[in-house]
Amino acid sequence: MISKAEILILMPEIFILTLACLILIVDTFSQDPLRRVTYYLSQLTLVLTAVLVIGFSPEQTVYAFGNSFISDGMSVVLKTGVFVISFFAFLYSHEYLKEHGWLKGEYFVLGLFAILGMMILISAYSLLTVYLGLELLSLSLYAMIAMHRESTTASEAAMKFFVLGAIASGMLLYGMSMIYGVTGSLELGTIATNIESNGDNPLLVFGLVFIMVGIAFKLGAVPFHMWIPDVYQGSPTCVTLFIASAPKLAAFAMAMRLLVDGLQPLLNDWQGMLIILSILSMATGNIIAISQTNIKRMLAYSTIAHVGFLLLGLLSGTPSGYAGSMFYIITYALMSMGAFGMIILLGRKGFEADELAHFKGLSERSPWFAFIMLILMFSMAGVPPFLGFWGKWFVLKEVVDAGFVWLAATAVFFSIIGAYYYIRVIKFMYFDKADSMTAIKASKQMRFALSVNGLALLILGLMPGALLAICVSVLSIAA
């Protein structure tokens, strides 16, 4: 039977679902071309859900619905991260959609459903819940990409994402069925204890490989990364922004739940897989990014490279390593959001500022936003004292502690290659002449939010202790 306490654990999810449904209906009655009601209600929903998540955050780990749903420190922190990032993403998106003239209420509703999917994924404690969350998230994203129906590139991107996503989902499910077949349970905790007690079964690793494909696809690790460049480039920038930020936190949570909570006894196997994925991702991402001229595509490859780094923390197999990864993914989401926000800021109706050349001479057009972009790029390249540096630093430290010095050296090598294309953007902004001196047209909120976004990287970079302490504390309890 479902107890009242269990309903309370799910309160934030229930709330956001109800509100999303309500907003969907309200939106159909709205005549406003700017969709103000829909937009503000969505933002309000995010804020209130965040309040609920933090308000209902449990003192210790609690489970609900027959142990298929978990609420612990990690889930609270990651969900809060998702809300903060989505809040900014919605703000930037509203600006973009308004400017480009195809503002639809469904964008925000789909966004809320995607966020619900992320929340479920983050809190999943059974194979089925993982799958449920993943699909809810993915389906919303497919629809969001395809929403701009006049754009052929967007349709192509949606199609590719959908087909490849379906393949990956299928593999994930297949792997799950193997694990279920061997352990006889869907619940992650039970799976772990069963594997522990029953020992070796080749089918376990077989299933793990398929599950790993699903995780790697969601994160975008090489060789399951192929969708990322095309989807990032093809989607409208506001959707790219959304895809590139908050869902990464959910994907990280998915990896944590499946690998650490469920398949921890197979550490030796998945560690090896993650090492391969990580090296391939860092190499491919950083090297191919260099020859890109489209900044969205460049950022797509940079994402792949960042995922390689993220995996370093996971594969160290210690709570502090997981904390390092969690820190990394949060910082990455912040940076990625800011970078795509800059593209939105520079664009205007009928014009997407998605070529690198559009950043030429930005320091003359707008010294302040050139500075913000400088922070973003330095942070992504991992230059101290910006936040991105600390992400890399903590992850590398964990890898070294885990005994993979050669891996850390490889990572540093590739990040040095990676620094080239980030710094090239800065060079364009500060040392090249602008093609046109058109003034930047953006609303006050947009300017303010983007400034906050950029400065946050600097300020958090100066005092990374608090954020890291949060990551370490929630994960040391979980593990």
């Binding site: 039977m1 449904c21 969907l24 209906i25």
Partner: protein
């Protein structure tokens, strides 16, 4: 009960023909199905035509006389463009079709799953209603 009686009658009819015929007993339902199908089919056609002749006005035209009356030629190249609204209707249909598919087993076990089961289904229906309102407001139910 009636079917069982019928079965006994046929069974007794066959029984003195030999022991080997007992195998045929397993095929009895199929025979029954064929017979009923034939009877129903023939009677419907007869009744339909008969009633049509008696009560209907006969105004045939080309489309009406084609085998399927759904806007397509019966025999032509399958690779043609046709209206995307068909998909829309098909998708909407599937949604509500599935709803029924859920409702049946639910109704059967409702007395065992109690109030929790009841409310779970109500929530499910409420979500569907939201979808329904949405498609209605969006004009998905209007063909033109």
């Amino acid at each position: 009960m009636y079917l069982v009686c019928l079965h006994e009658v046929f069974f007794n009819f066959w029984i003195d023909k030999g022991v080997t015929n007992q195998v045929l007993e397993n095929y009895f339902p199929i025979l029954l199905f064929i017979v009923i199908g034939l009877v129903l089919g023939v009677s419907m056609i007869v009744i339909g035509f008969g009633l049509g002749k008696i009560m209907g006005h006969a105004r045939p035209y080309k489309a009406k006389q084609s085998p399927y009356e759904c806007g397509f030629e019966a025999f032509e190249n399958a690779r043609i463009k046709f209206d995307v609204r068909y998909y829309l209707v098909a998708i909407l249909f599937i949604i509500f079709d599935l709803e029924i598919a859920f409702l049946f087993p639910w109704a059967v076990v409702l007395d065992e799953i109690g109030m929790a089961g009841f409310w779970a289904m109500m929530i499910f229906l409420a979500v569907l209603v939201v979808g329904f309102i949405y498609e209605w407001r969006k004009g998905a139910l209007e063909w033109e």
